[in-house]
Amino acid sequence: MNTNILQIKDPILSIQDLSVAYDKNVAVKNVSVGIKKNNVTAIMGPSGCGKSTLLRALNRLHELYENITTTGSVFLNDEDIFKMSPIKLRRKMGMVFQRPNPFPTMSIYDNVIAGYKLNGISQKRQERDEIVERSLRDVALWDEVKDSLTKKGTFLSGGQQQRLCIARALAFNPEIILLDEPTSALDPVATSKIEDLLIKLKENYTIIMVTHNMSQAARISDYSLFMYLGELVEYGKTKNMFTNPQDRRTEEYLTGKFG
């Protein structure tokens, strides 16, 4: 057993021996890791190390592409995600993408409620209003958009759009939120808003975030994974990892020798 990998007690998400391959190229190699509930876990590593690939395996987005094969198992609250229906799984795991991608034909209101509406879940108007308000308040966007809920989501600024996308993911009250470099397309002000938001959101949600920005990982994450060439090199408390990395590769990456 690799001593550089921290063992988490009672993880909300337990990844066991997970590998992902694009055709014959293995992008994620035998990753085993437990994710702690109500914490921010950052996945770090240089480009092409398999960070996003690992993240996208967790809500089974790889199944859209026939050339990608996933092996191993992942348990969400002791339930095997590969045995769940992907639809049920994805409602429990919200996802936010690298670039803000609100649905361009929909209003701000409809974007937030899209998960319900497009699933054909019938609700009273009031119920919908409540979900929209709660989700937008969660991402600190409510005060900015409450008077323009019927405007198109794409009229917002980039940072607002990204917060709208987080609200959209929160609307279903997921257990876990997966974020794939959520601030890489944003300016510093919008970035810091999102970071503050994530720290607040971990009270109610478990957050897993891919980032190639080390200082961001240091600022907001409680636990960090360091990946290199598809392997999980080190996993531990962020504080410990940044001050006292166990593996030589982690140290070299954190000190800027490569990456």
Binding site: L89, R90, G94, F97, R99, F103, T105, G115, L118
Partner: protein
């Protein structure tokens, strides 16, 4: 010592430039002039007959037309039977072609690079090149002979629908390809089933692209004559029964052409057809432009 302009021969080069510029303008005018000439001819010859009655009354018979021409009056009646027939058949053809075309387009988009999709795409492209009269013959063999047991609007619509199909398939595929992949992923990541992502997110996002394809397809088949001669045949009465022979604007133009008493009606019918085609074309352009 020679000056730079002598070495460079600026005078000759300016002359050459002017000649080319003149040539470009001339050729542009040559390109544009047919459409201008056609439309002006149609307007000059056709506007007299183009009145309200022309739109709402059915075709006159030869005797009425002959009397009117002999008395130097306007020919009475109109081409309502043809206008209604054209609308009926275009709507029916769209009802056949749009669902099938969009579903095939989605299939091609989702299966890029697979042999079955490549084959479908090639077949669809070949279909676009099949002469319309051949499609009319096929519709005659299948629909006229075996479904409606006689010439019918349905048979005409079937032929027109097949003509529309490849354009709709292609525009659907191309439109979907332009929609960012992450939009589809975002929908699926919300736990929305694929077909709802398709109808709730992808198709609304690409709506203007799909609409452009459909309008161009309609404007293409609206003037088709050959396949209708073998299928819808034509009718001098207003018909709304899809299993009966039906008239269409291009068909009445052909009928007027064959009747020396009705020659005047050719121009007004053609003008109306031209207006309809232009309207569809320009709307398609508008819809395409509104995309950005």
């Amino acid at each position: 010592m020679k000056s730079i302009s002598e070495i460079d021969n600026i005078g000759a080069r300016t002359k050459k430039d002017r000649i080319f510029m003149g040539l470009v303008v001339l050729l542009s005018v040559v390109t544009v002039s047919p459409i201008v000439l056609i439309i002006s001819k149609l307007i000059i010859k056709g506007y007299k007959q183009l009145n309200f009655g022309f739109l709402v009354e059915k075709m006159p018979d030869t005797m009425q037309a002959m009397t009117a021409v002999a008395n130097n009056e306007l020919i009475p009646g109109g081409i309502a039977n043809a206008i209604l027939g054209t609308l009926l058949m275009v709507v029916l053809a769209s009802a056949i072609a749009i669902p099938v075309g969009i579903i095939s387009g989605v299939y091609l988009y989702e299966n890029q690079g697979k042999w079955m999709a490549n084959l479908t795409r090639s077949v669809s492209d070949i279909l676009q090149g099949v002469p319309s009269i051949v499609l009319g013959l096929i519709s005659y063999l299948w629909v006229v002979k075996h479904v409606t047991n006689g010439f019918s609007a349905l048979a005409g619509s079937f032929a027109l629908g097949i003509m529309m199909l490849p354009m709709i398939v292609r525009s659907t595929e191309e439109t979907l390809k332009m929609i960012p992949q992450t939009l589809k992923e975002a929908g699926l990541a919300l736990g929305i089933p694929y077909w709802r992502v398709l109808f709730g997110i992808l198709i609304p996002t690409g709506f203007s692209g799909l609409m452009t394809g459909i309008l161009l397809a309609v404007s293409r088949v609206i003037g088709e004559t050959a396949p209708l001669m073998l299928t819808a045949l034509g009718s001098s009465v207003i018909n709304t029964n899809i299993s009966k022979p039906t008239s269409a604007i291009p068909l009445v133009i052909w009928e007027f052409y064959n009747d020396p008493n009705m020659v005047d009606l050719i121009w007004s019918s053609s003008l109306l057809l031209m207006i309809m085609v232009l309207a569809f074309n320009l709307t398609a352009k508008q819809v395409a432009a509104s995309r950005k």
